[in-house]
């Protein structure tokens, strides 16, 4: 994975650790050991928003950023995409053994509340 992904992951992980949301300067402070510029964090947050992983809300004069899904939910989404794919191969994945039937995948999809994966 490229360096950019590492940075996005670090920012997302800081949001996962703060479910109430963070402002960009707060992210800079949390990742102080990386010595990030505020503009860099803004860019990373924008990229994460473009991927639907982060939303922002106006809070007075600043924006608060929250993760749309926590780590467990994102893992579940990734797994579900793989399992549901055994029916139509949209991911063109080659799974070692398809141990979960499309019916099971449908059940998981329903359990997740029909979220798009």
């Amino acid at each position: 994975m490229v360096r950019r992904d590492h940075l996005e992951r670090a920012v997302l992980e800081s949001l996962w650790g703060n479910p109430d949301g963070l402002t960009a300067p707060e992210v800079v402070d949390l990742l102080a050991d990386r010595h990030l510029a505020l503009t860099t964090v803004h860019t990373v947050l924008d990229r994460l928003r473009a991927k639907d992983m982060v939303v922002r809300e106006r809070d007075g004069r600043v924006f608060r950023h929250r993760a749309t899904r926590d780590r467990e939910e994102m893992t579940a989404d990734a797994m579900l995409a793989v399992l549901a794919d055994s029916a139509d191969h949209t991911l063109a994945l080659s799974m070692f053994v398809r141990s979960v039937s499309p019916a099971d995948a449908e059940a998981i999809r329903k359990a997740l509340g029909g979220r798009r994966v």
Binding site: M1, D5, E8, R9, L12, K51, M53, R71, M74, T75, A76, D77, A78, M79, A81, V82, L83, H89, T90, L91, A92, L93, S94, M95, F96, V97, R98, S99, V100, S101
Partner: protein, 245 residues
Amino acid sequence: MTGVFLLLLAALLGPVPRLLSNARWAGRVPRAAAITWVVYAFVTAYLLLLNLVFVISWLVAGVLLAWMIGRLVHTVLTLRRTQRRHQEMLAMVAEWDPGRRVHVIDDDRALAYCLPNGAAPMVVVTRGCLELADDAELRAILAHERSHARNRHDLLVAGFLAWQRILPFVPSCRLAADAVGAATEAWADDAAVAAVSHDVTLRAIIRMGSGGADGPVWDPDPPTLRRIRRLLDQMPGPRAGHLVR
């Protein structure tokens, strides 16, 4: 050809009747002139119909071609978007295991797969897979997935998927896509056999498919059953017995 017929029709509708009506010989042989007009009418009607058929078939062909190109573009874009979304999620939640050179997802379910990713497909396994398979089985599983990645099976599968989506009403296209899928699996199984052995590869398939459960609880889907049969067929007879009780 169509051009020739269209030119001919244009001549028959334009200059020909004018020349014919001004012809001096018509006054001398009125019977021949009448017959000539009848012939002219029939030929013109025939060419009109013929050109109509040409125009309609060109239109139909054009619409069909546009539709097929649309399906192709849509399939490619959907594939790329789905794959990119998946890569983005993996970049956030998967851990890189430098020892095994795989991406690991923290999930109980035992899964191993190869994800198309530009020129370098990614091999992904779950924690459940690492816990379920023993070392030899894991070598078989990873050899299988690396064969998919190294031999660019994703391109083959995606190509035939697009072919099938372009012509969804042609049953042989689905047949071809399924057969290519089965061929790539068998190809990757051979790589696993070469890396470990028939026994271990079979054991890995059965353990991953059954989720490690004991007893006859696993009912493999037909493609997996064919993979198991194929591997069994390649083994010397008496040795196969202990694998399928």
